[in-house]
Symmetry: C2
Subunit: 440 residues, 2 copies
């Protein structure tokens, strides 16, 4: 059995000196919650309050949050808080009774998608959404085979963990799962061609084993693989390939959805393809548990004819109130545009830093979803996970929150709240510069 720490930026016991209070909380956690939970950072953080882009520890120290995309319109956004506070005192039942708000929300959300996508179903988490999407895809295609990128994360249910290779080598992939290399635009000149060829090879291998292909699932921006956005449109031919093979294309928008890319409401839109199923989660309720699956009606028909779906909390009136408020805030505060302009500003700032710090091998991403690849050698593009870890923890010590990802654990993962200001961006850039200077 390999070591358990497949998780980038996981806290590892004994790796750093801890203050007494932190050590005591960690000991309690271990005793009460058991061994499967992970903390982040060499010295884990304890937060007691959040507001906008800031998280506060018990001593009142403020941390600039450039990582959490759940609280995507900012921690405790007053409008979302107010919507939850109002509805929670009125009603929270379930979808076996009629309620108007869930319908109004579905209509509004579906209006942000291509017209081919006509239904919306509600779950509580992105994992549940991907789990349901796979059931729908398998019912429609009659196949089981699943194709994912090799460091993908799609969720934590048993079925979904079987196609979430980033969980590590000790979590078995399903026998019906094939992985393809991530679309590594840093190392390849022909991402579209190579990715398509890999998907075609995976389809062939599934068939060779008597497994009918059911689906290709891709992040709008390939997140845990290393924040690969790739050239716009590169995904189209791989989608054609899976469809030719009788399979579906599921767009996992749990991370790239809700305006994060700054280009469009959904990450898949940059590829000029219309998915068969779209899954969404994390930022949908700005922290309130709500997630969902949008589907082409003809794809959902087979599942609906065979099975019923009921998610006790999915689509209840409070969840829908929170989710509606998130859409309001995205519109009213112009957050799609903010993600684009502030994201571009950060990207340019990072690119300028790359001129002075050779370890910044690649700066990529779209909008406020950015990746910075850390290398020990620019010519060879050699991943430097140790340096990435030092940078992530160095920023943490400067009260700035980011994390890491990628197969080689060497990519900085930066996903600030969509309300990030130019001032916040400059602080992030300045502090990264400072940490990099210390590193060299």
């Amino acid at each position: 059995m390999k070591t358990q720490e497949a998780m980038v930026n996981a806290f590892i016991e004994g790796a750093a000196e801890l203050d007494e209070a932190t050590a005591a909380l960690i000991a309690q956690r271990k005793a009460l919650l058991g061994p499967a939970y992970r903390l982040m950072y060499e010295r884990p953080l304890h937060f007691v309050r959040g507001e906008g882009v800031w998280l506060y520890d018990p001593d009142g120290n403020a941390y600039l949050d450039a990582y959490n995309n759940v609280t995507s319109v900012g921690h405790c956004h007053p409008k979302v808080v107010e919507a939850i506070r109002r509805q929670v005192g009125i009603l929270a039942t379930n979808t076996r009774y009629l309620h108007g708000a869930v319908l109004d929300y579905a209509r509004r959300l579906l209006a942000t998608m291509p017209s081919e996508i006509g239904h919306l179903m509600f779950t509580c988490t992105g994992s549940d959404a991907n789990d349901l999407a796979v059931r729908i895809a398998q019912a429609h295609t009659g196949g089981k085979g699943i194709i994912v990128t090799e460091t993908a994360y799609h969720g934590i249910t048993q079925a979904v963990s079987e196609f979430s290779p980033s969980l590590g080598e000790n979590v078995d992939l399903g026998v019906h799962v094939r992985t393809v290399p991530a679309p590594d635009s840093y190392r390849s000149e022909n991402v579209a061609e190579e990715f398509t060829a890999a998907v075609r090879a995976a389809i062939g291998d599934l068939r060779r084993h008597g497994i009918k292909p059911a689906l290709l699932i891709c992040d709008g921006i390939f997140a845990s693989d290393g924040v690969f956005d790739g050239p716009a449109g590169f995904l189209k031919r791989a989608v054609d390939a899976i469809r030719e093979a009788g399979g579906l294309y599921i767009a996992d928008e749990v991370q790239s959805g809700f305006a994060r890319t700054g280009e469009a409401m959904w990450g898949f839109q940059r590829h000029g393809v219309v998915p068969d199923l779209v899954t969404m989660g994390k930022p949908m309720g700005n922290g309130f548990p709500v997630a969902g699956v949008a589907a082409r009606p003809e794809v959902l028909a087979d599942f609906g004819a065979k099975a019923r779906y009921f998610n006790t909390f999915g689509g209840n009136a409070v969840a829908v109130a929170a989710a509606s408020a998130v859409l309001d805030v995205i519109e009213e505060e112009g957050l799609l545009e903010n993600a684009r302009t502030i994201g571009r500003h950060i990207k340019e700032g990072f690119q300028a830093l790359a001129g002075r710090h050779a370890c910044l091998g690649d700066v990529r991403g779209a909008g406020l979803f950015l990746g910075v690849e850390i290398v020990s050698d620019r010519a060879g593009k050699t991943p430097d996970a140790a340096a990435a870890t030092r940078i992530i923890n160095g920023l943490r010590d400067e009260n700035v929150l980011i994390s890491g990802c990628a197969k080689a654990a060497n990519v900085l993962k930066i996903r600030p709240p969509l309300v990030f200001t130019r001032e916040n961006a400059d602080e992030l850039i300045t502090k990264l510069d400072l940490v990099l200077q210390r590193l060299s």
Copy 2:
């Protein structure tokens, strides 16, 4: 393919005349949410407000809720509402940072369980909890085989739907799943013996097919099977059998937990056995999405050594605030005792009705989790699903909410909020009497 309506008390289009507003909402639902959703009742209900044991339709008509066990301490309980309102404005992050409240809650919840159970993990739904519990059990035992009762419902993820036979014949059971008859105390004098023999036979059949048994999962009170509480202690020998075979016993307390049985905090406690894993959900946050898995530490160790578990919303500070408030209310309002005394009062009332209405074949259950078996012939104990449907819809027309369950779809399922008063109970009994009079 069989008809899709495996769900007891499902709305069936065209079965009854609907008013215009209801028909319009249903048409919108179908268009927006697609074909997999189900409504309850011949004439579905539309609720806009809830308070205590009451749900209100848009015209202000009050319905007595004797069914919803999610809002277990009453719709919009002021103390739970206040806890959510407070915390939602302070912080809602996740378990990759330290937070004291999740630990305080885990300590408090675990104190309600036998001392052998030492860890608590957080999910959002009971489905996720059962999905995680199975992953833990399979990691610990090295087996895959699952034994469930033949009309069990344990959840909706792909893995869990494979051992939730109540979803209907069109949702395939897993090849590693075996079903045993429910412990039908109405038709058997020897529930313990027969149930144990069936579990032993299922173990043998799994092995005969080369499948190592991993677990037996049972509701504290067998819910969708027909609200079978059985004689206290009857489960013990079946648990012994699965353990002898190297498998674990998972107690599904999603419905029977949190004081519902009136006897103890957890349904399994009536059997004098300590489970290996306990799953919980629906009433845990009184409508706020929160659920969990409690585990013996030695059982969780193998999973924790191999895999990490992260549930984005599971155990966040708002979920924990809601869940803590629920425990406060159960204690402060004496709801365990209320479930016992009011449950007994209802049971006695139903038993009295059974003296006058021959179709009430059996009245069973514990606390505020009651089942009434409807039969066409007492001597033959012949299930009468049509009469059960008429009673459920008759009560709905009298503004009282219950539903149905069981393999033969002939059992009234009654699960009022734990704050049900004697007056509420008398109204339920009186109206059932009225509906039964009309039926005969």
